[in-house]
Structure formats: structure tokens, C-alpha cells
Subunit: 198 residues, 4 copies
DNA sequence: AATGAATGAGTCTTCATTCAT
DNA sequence: GATGAATGAAGACTCATTCAT
């Protein structure tokens, strides 16, 4: 009995998170509306409070879920031989996550880029796994002389992550015109590794 | 009768814009509070409405003022010989504006990075002058073989602008730890031109 | 789950309408205060908005309810033989409604007499059933030569309705001194039918 | 110096009253806007307060002016021989005033018909001169058997005044369709004296 | 566990009124 | 006397949250 209930509970919770992600992505934290989230998810207002203690917590859980989904994606990324192929695999994995869970990723990106004191630490904390993976790849690359060694790998990792995120913003901001999701991983990697100079 | 007023009116208006920029930067559009803006600026709530017809208009005017300040900064940027020095001059000018008018720039950057449909076009429109200057520099650079010519200058310009903005976000997000404003222009240029590869 | 609610909801709605009628009658549309209406009805401000989407809609519903009550009254009026007795029956029925639902009728009368473009059409539309009944009675009276036939029955109906309404105004305006509600129907009919001449 | 000033003062005051009448007639007391009245009259907001101490007082002065204009009209009415011709002369005079000062009369009528406790006494007081003239005519008519003597002339006078007012309401309410101003005096008199019966 | 009616703090906005120039 | 900037009380409306059913 408990088992079924527990499963049902989880289903409802996921449904609420999905809808919350959509609306937080569209309207922002302040603009989003608990009633609307509940209703669109197929429940009544009060139900949200059986699963989350406040709007803030719901938002936090959306962020958290976004990070988990992203992290699962990185884990699934195939490893490559060179730094270039590894980075591209990571970026490709990230874009794959984005395709599946666009609202969650939008919330994550918007929050990362708006550096609100209340949520920035949370975002950073949840982004850390990804950044750490990148950092390790880059550190290895520095050792094998594929990567310039005059900058700390941690800083370079932040740069790569940032460029990826930046391209998402330009993708969404341009209505998908440029860059497209298909070209995005390669563009991120070449921008990061090769630069625009000759 | 009104004689002196003209100037006084402008002063009050500027004071309100300054305070609005601070609070919009800190709290976002929805989170900011007209009453608080007025009070902190040293006026009563109603006074705001003698200068701006609504919260939305006030926000628009803050964005607009931010863009004007930024544009004035670019115009004052010294021209250099090489693409590298020109970009660095532009970035340096931008950072100088940011030092003077941080709240305004924060509003601009946050808005640019949050791609809200209501304001994104406005932001893009006001950012356009800067992007266009960069594009022209890059087009010239492509002609002189300083810049890779396999990508449209307009896209490269968006990339450079984006990287600059991204570094602002990381500057603010890290509490000023990295990158610092001093190193920021050079970092933006080398990231953009040289890449992280060897 | 909601089971009982349906009825309870209607009760609350009626309570709010009653109180709104009282205050709209006393203070007019602009002068009335949603907060006060809610509080006097025994609820909090927000509750009004669970039932009516705006002050305007609430006002419209009050008008609408007033018309329904009035219409129900006419339907219950006994039919007489002569035009005189029929008119008196109608007037008596109208006064009976007024006794039961004075605030609603006050709102209706005040609105009818203040010819505000926003509400006048609504009022006319809702008064129409009554006016139409009167017109039919008068048309029949013209056929049986009880009524002068040198004027369109529709115009005469407007006159009779107007005189009735006018007497309400004088009743309320005089604090109930003259005419009293008891004498009002007969006075309306004799004024309308007989005139003051000899 | 004083004389010119005094005359100028009176001119400004009249201009403000005219505009106030227009806007009170259009928007009602609560809906009207001091700033708008002042501006449309060609002055600044503050000027109104050099002439009237409050919105309420301004409204009262508009009512008062309306009554004065009306009273001046009655005084100018030609006397007739019969009661019928006297009443028609009075009604014609009233309509003439209405043609000249429609906004003032609208304010007066609307206020008379909305029986607001705050203004009703004022309206009654100012309407009294007209009602008294009518009463005297009717009392004389009762003596000469032109008027039924089973009702106090004072009540009959209120009825006649009310019918006249009612026809104004129907005139304005119908957008001038029926009754027209031309037919209005005769209609008022025949309605009052002859009734609709045969 | 789900519901949705009730709540009331909080927000934008209006506008009559004051008063320094 | 005219002006219009400043004021702040007041009001409509929103919405996160609570809780009885």
C-alpha cells in the first residue's frame, strides 16, 4: 500500500515540477503563479502545498531537478580521446538534455545569468559537477599540451561553461535562428579552443 | 515662473532613475517596489508618477539611459591600430562605463541575459550600436587577415559582445573575485581572439 | 468534496450582492468601496474577487439581480379587468418588490435617472420587460378607448414607467414623507391617467 | 486697480464654473478631475484653489450657478392667462435655459434624481423658487377650477416639476430622440394636466 | 491526499490638496 | 494671482498561503 502510494506521490510531484519549470521559464520567479501551475498540471492550488512548502521551495526544487537532469546527461556522455572531442561530447550531452528538458534548462540558465544573491549559490553549487568535469578534462589537456597552461584550469572551465551558456541565451534570444542547437556544440568548442584570431 | 524648474526637474528625474537602476538591478523588474524607489530617492511615492507614467515606463527609461551611457562610452573609446588593440579599447571603454554606472549596466546585462520577450527587443535595439561597431572592426580585421574569415563578422561580433557580458556576470557572480574589472578587458579579448587551445 | 459548497457558494454570493446593493445605493458606483462591502458582508476584501472579477462586474451583477427581482414581481402581479386596474396591479407589484429589496431598487432607479453612458444601455435593457408589459396594456387600452390614441403606446409606456420612478425618487428624497409607499401606486396611476386638470 | 482685478477675477471664476459644469455633467462628482477641469479651462491645477476651497465647494457652486441661471429664466417667462399657458410658459423658459446652459442643467437634474443626502437639500433649496412659482400658479388654478382641488397645490407643483425633469432625463437618455426639446414643454403640460386617459 | 474558499499583506496607481516660487 | 511639483491618503486588485471539508 505504501509502495503504490509512494509511487503515485512521486508521479504527482514530477508533474508539478514539469509544469512549474515551464511557467518559471516563461514568467520568471515573481511572475509565475502557483494557482496557474497547479491548474495547468491538473490539480488544485492547495495540492502544491502538499508537496512543496512554499513557492521558493518549489523554485528551488525545479532548479535542483534541472541540475540533476543535466548531471545525468554528462554522466552519459561518451568519452573521447582528445580534449576537443571530450569537450564536444560534453557539450553535445548538455544540448541533448536541453532538447529533452528545455523548460528546466531555461530556468537554470536564466538563473545562472541573473546572479540573484538568493539563488546564485544554489545554481553554482548545482553547476559545480559539470564545471568540475570540464576542469578535469582541461587539466589533463594542459598536461598533454593541448591546452594553454598559463591559466588555471578552473578558470578555463568557467569560461567554457559560460560560453556554452551564452550560446544558449543567443539561441533562445534569436528565436532559434543562430546558433541552432545542431551547430551549437561545435561552435562552443571552436570558440573556446581556437578563438577568432588567425 | 517655471524658469529654474527645467533644470530642477531634470535633476529630480535623474535622481529617480539612479535609484530605480539600483533597485531594478538588485530586485529585478517584478521584485522592485515603486514606493521604495521613491522613498530611497528622497521623495514620496506619488512623485514618481509626476515623471514616469508607470513602473513599466520607468523601467524602460532606466534601460534607455543605460544604453545611452554605454553608447557615449564607446564613442569616447580611443581607436587603436590592430584589431586586438581596437577591441581592447572598446572593452576598456565599456568597463569604464560600468565603473561609473554599475547599477544601470547591471540592469542592462541582466535583461540581456534573461531574454524576456517584453524587453529583449528593446535591449537588442539599444545594444545594436555597440555590436555594430564591433562588427565593423571585425570585418576590417577579416580583410586584413587578422580575423578568421570563415564566419560572418556579425556572428563574431555577437560572440565578442557575449563574452564581454559573460565576464561581467562572472565578475558580479563571484563577488568581484574573478575576473576583476582591471583584468576583464584583456581577458575578454584574449578569450575571443586566441582561444584556450595551443 | 465540493458537494455542499454549491449551495454555500450561492449563499455567500447573495450576501455579497445584498451588501453591495446597500452600499452602491448609498454611495454610488464610484463612491462605494470594495473593502467596505466585503467587511460589512462579513468577509475579507479578497473574497469579493473570488465571486466577481471586478468592481464593475459586481455593480453589473447588482443591477442584473435588481432587474430579475423586479421582473419576478411583475410576473406575480394579478391581472385586472380595466387598464386602470392593470396598471395599478403592476405598480403595486413594483412597490412590493421595492419593499423587499429596497437597496437593489435604489441602485436601479438611481442608475436609470443618472443616464451614465456606461450603464444606461444596461438599465434600459433590463427595464425593457416592464416597459413592454405596460406598453401592451396601454395598446389594449387604446383599442378599447380607455387610453388616448393620439400617442404611440410605447411613448406612453415610457411616461408611466417614468412617473412611477419619479415618485420613488420623491419618496426617497422626502425621507418617505410624500408620497408614502402605500399611496404610491394609486398616485402613479391617477397622475398618469387623469392628469391634474379638471 | 481693484475694479479691473475684480472683473478679471469674476471672468476666471466663470470660466472655471463653465468647465466644471461640463465635466461634472459628463463624469459625475467622483469621476470628475480637478486637474482636467483646470487644464481644459486654460489654467493650472492650483488656480482652482484660488477660487474654490475644495472640490466639494466647486461642485456646490456649479449647482448654485445652475439654479441661478434657471431662476433668471423663470423670471423672464411671459405670463399667460390660463394655467395651461402659464405652465407652458414656465416650461418653455426652463427649456430655453437648458439650451443655453446644458451642462449646468444636467448637473442639476442628475443631482436632483440621485437624491444623495449630501447634496439633495441643496438641490431642493435651489429648486424651491421654481416649485413655488408653479405652486402659486396651480393654487390660482384651483381657485378658478382649472385644476383639481383634491390635492395640495404644493404636491401638484412637485409633480409638474418632476415630470418636466423626467422628460429631460428621457431626452438625454434617448440621445435626443424622444422627446425633442421642441416638443418637450407641450408634452410636459399635457401629460400633467390631461393625463393619458380618455 | 485533494480541494478551493477565505484571507490579508502588499502593490500599483490616482488624485485632491498644499505651498514655495 | 498663477503655477505645477510634491505629497500621501485611499482604493482596486493580486496572490501566496492556510485550513476545514
Amino acid at each position: 500500500m505504501v509502495r503504490i502510494s509512494r509511487k503515485a506521490r512521486e508521479t504527482v510531484r514530477q508533474r508539478l515540477l514539469e509544469e512549474a519549470a515551464i511557467q518559471f521559464a516563461r514568467d520568471g520567479f515573481e511572475g509565475a503563479n502557483i494557482n496557474s501551475i497547479a491548474t495547468e498540471a491538473g490539480f488544485a492550488k492547495g495540492t502544491v502545498y502538499n508537496y512543496f512548502s512554499s513557492k521558493e521551495e518549489l523554485f528551488g526544487e525545479v532548479l535542483s531537478a534541472a541540475c540533476q537532469r543535466a548531471a545525468a546527461g554528462y554522466a552519459a556522455a561518451p568519452k573521447g580521446d582528445s580534449v576537443r572531442s571530450r569537450l564536444e561530447a560534453l557539450a553535445t550531452a548538455d544540448v541533448a538534455v536541453l532538447r529533452d528538458d528545455e523548460p528546466f534548462m531555461k530556468v537554470l540558465v536564466r538563473e545562472a545569468m541573473s546572479f540573484r544573491p538568493q539563488t546564485y549559490p544554489l545554481v553554482v553549487q548545482h553547476l559545480a559537477p559539470f564545471v568540475d568535469v570540464v576542469r578535469d578534462v582541461l587539466a589533463a589537456g594542459a598536461a598533454s599540451s593541448e591546452i594553454r597552461s598559463d591559466r588555471p584550469p578552473a578558470q578555463l572551465a568557467l569560461l567554457f561553461t559560460g560560453i556554452l551558456t551564452l550560446l544558449y541565451v543567443q539561441h533562445w534570444g534569436s528565436g532559434g535562428a543562430w546558433p541552432t542547437l545542431d551547430e551549437l556544440p561545435a561552435l562552443a568548442v571552436t570558440t573556446f579552443l581556437d578563438g577568432a584570431g588567425t
